[in-house]
Amino acid sequence: MSDFQQVAPQEISSPRVNARTSASKKKGASPRVNLRWKQLTDKAAGVVITAGGIAIIASIILILFVIVAETLPLWYAPTAQPTPTPALENPHPLVVGVDEYQEIVYFATAAGTIEFRSLTDGHILQRFEIAGLNGQQVTSAYRDGIQHEVAIGTSGGLIIPLRLVFTPKFVDGKRAITPEVREGKPLQIDEQGRPLTSLVYSENGGVVRAAALVGPRTLLFFSQQEKTSPLGESSLEQSRTDLSPQLKSDVTALALDQFQSNLLAGTASGELYHWPVDEPEKVQLRQTFSAVSTPGTGISVLGWLIGGRSLIVGDASGGVNVWVQVRNEENSQDTPYRKAHQFRSHRTQVTAVAPSPRDKGFLTADVGGTVLVHHSTSEQTLLELSTGTNSLPLLTFAPKANGALTVDSHGQLFRWDLHNLHPEITLKTLFGKVWYEGYEKPDYTWQSSSGTDDFEPKFSLTPLTYGTMKGTFYALLLAVPLSICAAIYTSQFMHPRIRSVVKPTVEVMAALPSVVLGFFAGLWLAPRIEKIVPAVFLLVIALPLVSLIASFVWRLIPLPVRSRLRPGTELAFLAPLLLLTMYACVSLSGYIDTIFFNGSFPQWLYTTTGVQYDPRNSLVVGFAMGFAVIPIIYTIAEDAFSNVPQHLISGSLALGATRWQTAIRVVLPTASPGLFSAVMIGFGRAVGETMIVLMATGNTPVMDFSPFNGFRALSANIAVEIPEAPYGGTLYRVLFLAALQLFVLTFLVNTVAEIVRQRLRERYSKI
């Protein structure tokens, strides 16, 4: 048996195979071993190829999973883990704060000290006696919730500024933090020496502004700045303003922003008083407005989000709102406060608020012992943390925004570890309109980075998706009619010999790298099109018209001459004619410009319609991307047309239909699914095209359908931003989400197209 197997192939196989088998036979030892070897290799090959094949295909499909996995953390719900805290013997601190590593908590106490305590066991690390008190009592204290700066108000009308510094030192690889207090000069806020019951304080580059209450309706504003006289001597210039006459209700909360330009006071009647304090000598009330959720309740707390532009208002009925200054369109000086965001209410009065030092999140606490974690921009209340039933007058965020700390009215400390990686991301912030700080109204905005620290990244994918769709639309607008007409002509009317040259030429165009097309469009085409915009529109009309006229003129040529030329050679006449038309249109463009558009279309466009002409615009992109899409649609459509069974065409022609009638009534309907899939695949290519849109548009994320300005597409956005995106950050994951969006879109479109095409193939085989 084995002998037969060995001999047989040699005798009958083709010479090529023969040569190889005989060579391998020489190497083989005995036939029996050889057979076993053969079976072994066969099995091994089977296993290797099956395993390898599955592994390779699986790893290709892994792409999708990796991309999805990178985007998943965006949706993780935030979590809070209560952590044990030491008991405190000092029950009534005035201000609380915690260091960056959450190892040390500090308090300002009514006894006139700053206490630093270890968060692990509660022992006092350091106690600082405030020297500037000089026997006065501490009556109030203020901290903005972000900096480690505390201002102490005294019974003698003084404010004592304190700066707390934490210096980490690494000894034997272990971290040891030394806290330190730097005391500033006391400032006399009230010249009558009344006790300050509540205060706000801000110091910035030597300029101090503060406001304090000395009675429920007595509000004092204080300002101090260094003035340099022309002689070079510097002196401190102080000013004090009594704001009380303007108050009509008891003040319950104060807020002064970090720019030292807005002072706000909340009252028991629920109204906010707003004083611009840019010029300390001329402090005047600008407006009063009701800022509570339910009318009639009082404002209980005020606070600023990081950046100092959004005001958090908590009221006695538990309402939490964020107000922002909005520029009045008629009067740029007038910037009234508007309610931008409303959050889930507390059941009882809001007692404290703490901004996040990292993002636009904040905490609020209430009388009933509940803490809520909010995120302002995304308008979400992320978590509810419960401590018991005691009121919570003090609240703070850890500096890395990874922890929250509160003290209840009995002096009990509570702390949570927060895991809140991407609080700003919700479906609404990604795709809906969002009201960002500094904007006049909710809008779709993409702006991922900026120079300043308190900048809030804006991740709306809507303008990018819009840009992608806009580019695709203009590309298909050019490519679909051109390529389908070209495909009809090539498959139905063209001489086969020319066809065998033309088709590969167009196919090679598909291989042109998109960076070449992008470069061509951006650097060569864009500046030229800018000069001949009218010609571009003229060409759209002129080119088909010239083809029409050409066919008519052709008709006039006497039949004997015409019949010498075979059908399908029209192309040879048309091409030079079209070139001439183009040349004529471009030359005419200057005249059209002078006659209709005062010499320059871009300028005319700007003055008459207000649309800015951008040299790298959608028109140019559409043209360049059309280049990329035409060969794809053309190839698939041409295949679909030329695979229409010949007997259908012959039948139609035999029944007396003209070539055109056959093409339109027989070939086109039969091949229409093929056309559909051709357009779909072209669409997929245009959607994902990166380099062309990157190079031929201005990459500004605007939402405007005008063909004369640019856009920013999803793909180009990824290419530009992902190299700068920190690994694992929000931007990084949002860009993965954008990639996923592209992947899913193109994959779906291509799958539909592929299935349609396979159906079509089956249909052809049945006809």
Partner: protein
């Protein structure tokens, strides 16, 4: 005119002509793109004459004419529109701008001075002007055009040789020393963090410290040698008077080549043209990539495409063999086939994102933590590089190879397989000796198409390892010779970078056109090869069927 218009309309001929027009238009678009790129690229290196222009206000300009156009003046009758001309006046360091527009009406005189010189410089772009003196150690050794020019031509080759020597020392010899130093330092760090036995650690440390000391000594020697070479080159300087009277003194070594464009014969021009072309292909870029050559980009592209093909072909063929020969054909395999097919249509940037997220950060970061902890936090593999870029492209192009291979596998006549099996060959033998050789041209086509696609892709490379200027090539004389973790340059990215990120786009344009033409050339060549191979395959199978 016996043809009625209605009948003509009904015949459908006008529509046929219109579809024909569409095709003609598409063809015109393609051909004109290639012609425009080629014309812009090839014309650039042809040495043009230097024209001296005197303007009405007495200004003199020396430059090469770039283009003339009518001045866009609104509200003027077309007949009175004036024209203007753009000149490349070069001398960036003297005038600030390379190009200047001049109204033709302002020109009073034009001449082509025979003594006008064109200096191509290592830095600051070209210099146009008249040679006045050549100095050595600050003393004038030749004055007047004829003698200075002779002297210049005598000295210039020597300075360039010295310069070459300087470059060799800087790149090769000092580069080697630095490489060894870095190696030794990392070794030291590794021992300090990993070696538990203090005695052995101390021994290694002393040995390495000694090595470092030797290397530093050698470095100092080389630096001294460099200094003498630099000093030697600094001795020779020359003075040029530019148009308008401004003078500029330069070291002779700063000039790449100098010639008299207005005295060149056709043959001389041709020789210069070829020299410049050769320089473009073989030299390193200068002036932030806007001048010089693109050799590192060509090299990077070629190596990347080769590595990619080495991975993509076996993987693609195995996957196709599995799908076509081993997998049980059914809805599952059909679905997988459609999925693989469609992956070819997934945007390349998505693959790039995957490459960055998975290869660079996950795999690369893992490799760094395991094998290169001493270099952290500087990433070795945890950043974009040749390996990751090639792998990403391999993933991108593997569907192309799978589809092409499957197609050619399915075109092997059934009789061939049946014949082989009937003669007692096992399945694997049939595949190896009958099916695969028959499918080889198809596989080759797939590979070439994959290479063409890989060579032209830019978007995924931008985020997985391509840079605008790589200091070292991914292949050099240091063991292990292939440095796949290194970043590299790429022709496609070069186009994007020079054309769009360069500070002086106008001056860089010719370079971009040249690179574009090179890239188009490579890709068209690859595609034509694929088409030819495919046609061969068809013919062979037609005759091979029995």
């Amino acid at each position: 005119m016996n043809v009625s218009f209605g009948k003509f309309w009904k015949s459908g001929d006008p529509f046929i002509w219109m579809t024909g027009g569409a095709l003609a238009l598409s063809l015109i678009m393609i051909i004109s793109l290639i012609v425009i790129v080629a014309a812009n690229a090839l014309g650039y290196y042809w040495p043009d004459r230097l024209v001296q222009v005197t303007l009405k206000d007495g200004t003199e300009l020396l430059g090469q004419r770039i283009v003339s156009e009518p001045i866009p003046t609104p509200d003027t009758p077309a007949a009175t529109v004036q024209s203007r001309t753009e000149f490349q006046v070069a001398n960036r360091d003297l005038y600030g701008a390379d190009f200047r527009w001049v109204n033709d009406a302002d020109i009073t005189a034009r001449s082509f001075p025979a003594e006008a010189l064109l200096f191509e410089r290592w830095e600051w772009g070209p210099l146009f002007g008249f040679l006045t003196t050549v100095t050595q150690d600050g003393k004038v050794i030749a004055e007047g055009f004829a003698r200075a020019w002779d002297k210049f031509q005598e000295i210039h080759p020597r300075t360039q040789e010295t310069l070459e020597r300087i470059h060799r020392i800087e790149r090769k010899e000092i580069g080697d020393i630095n490489y060894a130093l870095e190696h030794a330092r990392l070794g030291l760090k590794r021992i300090q963090t990993e070696e538990r036995d203090p005695a052995r650690a101390a021994k290694y440390v002393t040995a390495l410290e000694q090595e470092i000391a030797t290397l530093q000594h050698r470095y100092a020697e080389k630096a001294a040698e460099l200094k003498t070479l630099y000093d030697e080159n600094a001795r020779y300087r020359f003075l040029v008077r530019a148009a308008g009277g401004k003078e500029k003194e330069l070291p002779v070594a700063a000039v790449v080549r100098a010639f008299l464009p207005n005295q060149l014969s056709w043959w001389g021009r041709f020789k210069l043209y070829v020299t410049r072309l050769v320089e473009f292909v073989w030299d390193d870029p200068r002036e932030s990539n806007t001048e010089g050559g693109v050799f590192p980009a060509i090299f990077g592209t070629v190596i990347m495409v080769l590595i990619m093909s080495m991975m993509v072909v076996p993987f693609g063929v195995i996957a196709a063999l599995y799908l076509r020969e081993y997998a049980k054909q059914g809805p599952m395999v059909r679905a997988v086939r459609i999925a693989v097919n469609n992956l070819a249509g997934v945007p390349s940037i998505v693959f790039g994102v995957f490459g960055l997220g998975f290869f660079v950060y996950v795999l690369g970061g893992g490799i760094d933590r395991l094998f290169y902890p001493e270099a952290l936090p500087t990433p070795t593999y945890g950043t974009g590089g040749m390996l990751w870029a090639s792998l990403t492209l391999a993933l991108l192009t593997v569907p192309v190879v799978i589809v092409a291979t499957e197609e050619s596998l399915s075109s092997i006549p059934r009789e061939w397989r049946e014949g082989s099996l009937a003669l007692g060959a096992t399945k694997w033998e049939t595949i190896r000796k009958i099916v695969l050789p028959g499918a080889l041209p198809g596989i080759l086509t797939g590979m070439i198409l994959a290479m063409a696609r890989g060579a032209g892709e830019v978007a995924p490379l931008m985020i997985t390892g391509v840079v605008k200027l790589a200091p070292t090539l991914p292949l050099d004389a240091h063991a292990p010779f292939f440095h796949l973790e290194r970043k590299f340059m790429h022709l496609g990215f070069h186009i994007y970078d020079v054309g769009f990120q360069s500070p002086n786009v106008e001056a860089a344009k010719p370079m971009v056109f040249m690179t574009t033409m090179l890239l188009i050339g490579i890709i068209l060549l690859l595609n034509l090869t694929a088409i030819i191979v495919r046609n061969r395959l068809r013919n062979r199978l037609r005759f091979g069927t029995f």
